[in-house]
Symmetry: C2
Subunit: 218 residues, 2 copies
Amino acid sequence: MDDAAEIPRPRPPRRTDIRRENERVILEAAEKVFAEAGFGGATMQLIADMAGLPKANLHYYFATKEDLYRRVVENIFTIWLHAADSFDTAADPATGIGAYIEAKMRISRQHPFGSKVWASEVMHGAPVIQDYLEGTLRSWTEGRVKAIQRWIDEGRMAPVDPRHLLYMIWATTQHYADFGHQIETLNGGRPFTDRQWKAATESVKAIILRGIGLSTAD
Amino acid sequence: MDDAAEIPRPRPPRRTDIRRENERVILEAAEKVFAEAGFGGATMQLIADMAGLPKANLHYYFATKEDLYRRVVENIFTIWLHAADSFDTAADPATGIGAYIEAKMRISRQHPFGSKVWASEVMHGAPVIQDYLEGTLRSWTEGRVKAIQRWIDEGRMAPVDPRHLLYMIWATTQHYADFGHQIETLNGGRPFTDRQWKAATESVKAIILRGIGLSTAD
DNA sequence: GTATCCCTTGACCATACGGTCAGGAAAAGA
DNA sequence: TCTTTTCCTGACCGTATGGTCAAGGGATAC
């Protein structure tokens, strides 16, 4: 995509990438700090230190703390949405829902900070991303609800309220990120190993799939 | 216990109750503010305003912001623990686990602020209540895990990992408090009615109980 | 070379925060 | 009534925070 001499002036963005790279570093640091301290507890100085940049430099790329925070939350929201793709590609409910649970568990492991920032934002009344809740999330949810209802109507799974099923999947999978510290403490202070993550995923899948009348075809 | 003329001086605490009452008012306001703004975002002034007291009066009853916060979290923890009583009184797994889910759903409805403060505390690495996690919560969990494992060994329920079952119950029930705003938004911006809370509770119970091999004896 | 543009940053500012304190009000005890 | 204890609170303080700004690099374009 870069080398294609499609445009006469390829314009190699050697120094323009400074912006992209610095924004990436800042966003990564911000995600962690916001997750660990909350919006109110996070300070620009802390984020700057973690990013290895002077505080004034943060304000060069992000005008305000709110702007930076919004970008972090938006990034997370995008990840959530992409995780749902697996839902659509499968026509079989067990495969679709199972894959969705697996994807969400994977995200909980790979993006625990993002999950926490999202949780914090929603818990505080979603002051920043209320529009996402009312727009994208609502329509996405309605689409999924209809898909599940169709499966139910076709007798392919037990008649459960699709919304509460979705909430259960969200709650359970995100719990392993949001309450990771509690789980780690109850795990003897040690973080989950690969094997334990796999076991957790299988446990969640097993209970939920059986709970909606689908055999756990491992 | 008060009227019993056991002690010569019954000492009617007419004005000493000022302390108790004010502490109650402050704690109630603090729970709400900490839940809505997080520890870092909450200010003593905000709590004072919500309690209808001057800020300096708060510091008369609670030396520091941390002290006040700790009391709030401790109160919530106590509520959590009492909710688990239903678990023990029933010998039948379906009844015991069902009653536990019902109790936790009831708490999510009645103490949403407390649930959020707890979630926030754990998400931030439990800086204040780590000792509770390692002490009371861990031993409580181990007791429950053994009880569930016994049921499994006796063939009275499906062989699932008791820990992940507990996590699922915690996650799902608390989700209705912690993510209440998101659920409300997806509910057309209206909070759950009595009927909807009942339906949610039944949905959660149905999926989980069926998921662990227990018929949903409504 | 040199003008231009993007980037960098130390120093600074107004504000708001948690917390203190002294002095007074009000009740309880004698 | 007088004393003591508890409660109340306006005014204040040091600090830390989000944000600003002006002066200065340093690479690129001409």
